[in-house]
């Protein structure tokens, strides 16, 4: 006679919601959250990395009972948070070189072991410091299974030094070093770059996950899960960069959401080298919806519109959807 569907005013898509019990609310909804990256940092307006870092480190702090040390590679996150003598960090924090933060974190973790303390260790860096410059140290940390959670904030280029291409820059994107020129301007070439999450999986470390600032609940759940495990763990967080992407600072979360919903950024998790869950697409959108909002892809929409290039990008999204079963609600972790 009547249909009743389990339902809350906004379900759990929002950060908090007064209708949810305390346990169901996110770390970010709490008045007592650490604010690990405090106000006054010098990130640009609408910085996805600053947001992602606070989301992740606050969750890690809660999981570690506030007993946590962070190692930070050179990059935007380090520069905007710690212009001497200021620091935005609300936890013990050490800056390493661009390329060695995984190694430094290994050392910090070893020190804790020798000292017999329970202090947990976090390493973090941008995509440049992770997928390019720090990659050797990172791979070493993985294969030794050192007790470190490494978090990569992926904004898809070297933003701090002026938006140069990294091995995480998507095809067709304009950067300072992939300027679209000529009659059929294409930007970054297709068929290059790498997926560090998949490479991390190949090390068969206990836990690998991707996450996004557009899905806070998922991100917090993954950080919390990673913190419950010892050994090498890797979380790769998609963080839009308004400056480098040529986007409205207000669109940071919207862009991250469109990247997920189009399939361009697959959100999944893996344990010991095997995929164990994925976040299903909720409202699928064509990649164009995502691309159009960013000036780094503007050359695809000028006369003549680069229909074939856009189709190639759609093919990448479609492949992700197939590969990670992104349209399957069943078996979805989130």
């Amino acid at each position: 006679m009547e249909t009743t569907i389990k339902f809350y005013q906004t379900d759990t898509f929002t950060v908090g919601n007064r209708l949810l019990s305390e346990a169901e609310r996110s770390v970010q909804a709490g008045m007592q959250r650490t604010n690990a990256l405090n106000s006054g940092h010098r990130a640009c307006q609408g910085c996805g990395e600053a947001l992602g870092a606070r989301f992740a480190v606050d969750a890690a702090m809660r999981a570690a009972g506030n007993d946590l040390i962070a190692c930070n590679a050179t990059g935007c996150l380090e520069v905007f948070s710690t212009p001497y003598p200021e620091s935005s960090w609300q936890l013990p924090w050490i800056h390493s070189l661009f390329g060695n933060t995984a190694a430094v974190a290994t050392g910090v973790a070893a020190a804790q072991r020798v000292k017999g303390t329970k202090t947990r260790v976090l390493a973090q860096g941008g995509d440049g410091g992770t997928t390019d410059i720090g990659f050797g140290c990172l791979s070493g940390m993985f294969e030794r299974n050192d007790d470190v959670l490494y978090i990569c904030y992926d904004n898809e280029a070297y933003m701090n030094t002026g938006v140069q291409r990294s091995s995480a820059t998507p095809p067709a994107a304009r950067t300072a070093t992939t300027v679209p020129v000529g009659q059929h301007p294409n930007g970054n070439v297709f068929g290059k770059g790498k997926s560090v999450p998949l490479i991390a999986m190949a090390h068969e470390i206990p836990y690998v996950a991707t996450a996004s600032v557009a899905d806070l609940r998922d991100l917090e759940a993954k950080v919390t899960k990673a913190m419950s495990i010892h050994g090498a763990r890797y979380i790769h967080i998609h963080v839009p960069c308004p400056l480098g992407w040529g986007a409205d600072p207000a669109h940071t979360i919207k862009l991250a959401r469109l990247a997920i919903e189009s399939g361009l950024f697959p959100v999944f998790e893996a344990e010991h080298g095997e995929i164990t869950g994925h976040r299903a697409i909720r409202e699928q959108v064509p990649v164009e919806d995502y691309l159009k909002l960013q000036k780094r892809f503007a050359h695809l929409f000028r006369n003549p519109k680069q229909v074939e290039v856009i189709a190639q990008l759609q093919a990448i999204a479609d492949r992700n959807i197939r590969r990670f079963k992104l349209l399957e609600k069943r078996g979805a972790a989130v």
Binding site: F13, T14, V15, S39, R42, G46, P85
Partner: protein
């Protein structure tokens, strides 16, 4: 926050946290919290703050919800049954999946209040002023309630033997059970309102002078049935809808086995359904235009058809004889007006009920000198005052508004506020309204999809033969579910999104029920909070520098 420690070599700055760096100085735009007028509230004829009472209902605090509701409308259990809920037609959720079942939740709250015995508070201070209310229909009851809340003495005079006006003598029991009506009237009387039944007033000014009332509110309704000339034989039985619906309150009117109802409004539907319940084998509505042109609400037509009521449109009655009527078929012209075709047909009919609209009774109005009228209705100004100083009016008798219970309740409230101001020698000024909360301002990503809870409909057979209530109510879990479908358009519902998504931690959470504030020392003006606010309660304004 500065910590004084010995400075290392060549370092001159104090070691500090980044809080010393007021990044708010970068800002060229600033986010501001706003409240907007949701479409439900904007369209409610009774001026209910629907979103606010849903907000309380969402958390399961039904008494707070009911108290919020009754600040504007003292008759929620009645409303939840007879209101045509224009709010639901305007609901933004309708563009997402289906409108929130506001009316059903209102009924749940109204019934819950009756079950729990929640009462209205008596006024804290008596004003010493006395107001005479003529008519105990929805307009009069609403005016009396609001005036009493403001501390005025109120006397209602009612010509009938029971209170309620058209709610009792126009709306059938299957739509409004009488114990619900009686209980909601009693709750108003219990505030200290005097109710004089069986008291017909023809010269209201004389009564005002005799008893020393400071102001008068008229809510006498429109109870005179309009007639149309139909050539009829002596044996034909022609009556009108007003009489039938009035008679059925106290007795069983004899309409026969085949009943023809002439008209296309909600009253025609009410009579047709009533005739079925009185035992008519056939209950046929004859209407001169087409079904889509009927003024009756579609859901009522639908319910009537389900009960076996028949519709004969594009027809006029040209003659009524003994046991049958003659109808002429009509055709719509290019402008959509019905024109006679010259084709006739005979229908068996034991009685014909005219449901062609109602007029206002004039006796009382004729006793007030120089009253400005419009046709049979009274002309009022923007605050419901007639052309006679100190005499206010509302409901069906007033010119230029829809004749519904909810409109009448709204009139009563507005008039009460105007009377209160007038008694103090002031002119009532309604509070300015917020900007509308449009669908485009919502970020609907954050709302989950869900179907509207369907009110259980009584078994058709049972409905046909009795005057039991047709539309059932929600139970507690359903009502909660339905309330939680509210999008809270334009007003913060504390989802914590702004607090969570600020990259600069520049949103201060003030705690449950206190909402949020911006810390403009650090807000860089990126606008993420406004973009990700589900309900559109944040705007971004240019800094004026």
């Amino acid at each position: 926050m500065s910590t004084q420690i010995e400075k290392p070599f060549a370092i001159t700055l104090d070691r500090n946290t980044s809080l010393a760096n007021h990044t708010g100085s970068w800002r060229s735009k600033r986010p501001v919290y706003v409240d907007r007028l949701p479409p439900c509230n904007a369209t409610c004829p009774a001026g209910e703050n629907i979103q606010n009472w849903l907000f309380h209902a969402e958390s399961g605090n039904y008494e707070a919800a009911w108290r919020s509701l009754t600040e504007n409308n003292p008759l929620p259990a009645i409303m939840g049954r007879v209101c045509y809920h224009p709010c639901e037609g305007a609901c933004n959720r309708g563009q997402l999946d289906a409108a929130v079942g506001i009316n059903a939740v209102e009924r749940f709250l109204g019934d819950e209040a009756l079950k729990q015995g929640w009462a209205f508070a008596k006024p804290a201070v008596e004003s010493g002023k006395r107001v005479l209310v003529v008519g105990s229909g929805p307009a009069g009851l609403s005016a009396a309630y609001h005036l009493r809340r403001m501390g005025h003495g109120v006397t209602i005079v009612e010509a009938e033997t029971a209170a309620g006006g058209m709610m009792r003598y126009g709306i059938p029991r299957y739509r409004l059970p009488r114990q619900v009506l009686d209980a909601e009237v009693q709750r108003i009387v219990d505030m200290g309102v005097e109710l004089r039944l069986d008291t017909r007033v023809d010269d209201v000014l004389a009564m005002q002078a005799a008893e020393g009332f400071d102001a008068v509110f008229l809510g006498i309704g429109a109870g005179i049935a309009k007639r149309a000339y139909i050539p009829a034989g002596d044996a034909s039985h022609i009556t009108d809808a007003v009489s039938v619906l009035h008679e059925v309150e106290d007795s069983q009117p004899l309409l026969g086995r085949k009943v023809v109802i002439y008209g296309g409004g909600n009253t025609a539907i009410d009579v047709a359904r009533t005739a079925k319940r009185l035992g008519a084998e056939e209950s046929i509505i004859v209407y001169r235009r087409t079904r889509d042109k009927m003024p009756a609400h579609d859901f009522e037509v639908k319910e009537a058809l389900e009960e076996g009521v028949k519709l004969k449109w594009l027809s006029t009655i040209t003659e009524a004889g003994e046991g049958n009527i003659t109808i002429e078929k009509m055709a719509l012209d290019a402008k959509g007006f019905p024109q006679p075709t010259g084709e006739f047909e005979t229908l068996p009919a034991d009685s014909v009920v005219l449901a062609l609209g109602q007029n206002v009774e004039q006796t009382l109005l004729e006793h007030i000198p120089n009253l400005t009228m419009k046709w049979d209705s009274v002309q009022t100004d923007a605050v419901m005052m007639t052309s006679h100083d100190g005499v206010f009016a509302g409901g069906d008798m007033v010119a230029g508004s829809e004749r519904t219970v909810t409109v009448a309740v709204g009139h009563g409230k507005k008039a009460a506020r105007a009377i209160d101001a007038w008694l103090r020698g002031e002119l009532y000024q309604p509070a300015p309204k917020h900007e509308p909360a449009t669908f485009e301002r919502l970020n609907t990503w954050y709302y989950a999809d869900a179907e509207k809870t369907v009110r259980p409909v009584l078994d058709i057979i049972r409905r046909q033969s009795t005057f039991d209530e047709v539309v059932g109510g929600l139970d507690e879990s359903n009502a909660l579910f339905e309330a939680r479908r509210c999008l809270s358009c334009g007003n913060c519902f504390e989802c914590d999104n702004c607090y969570g998504v600020c990259p600069d931690s520049a949103v201060i959470k003030l705690g449950a029920g206190k909402r949020f504030a911006f810390n403009y020392d650090y807000c860089k003006g990126c606008g993420l909070c406004a973009e990700e606010c589900p309900c559109g309660a944040i705007v971004v304004e240019l800094e004026d520098k």
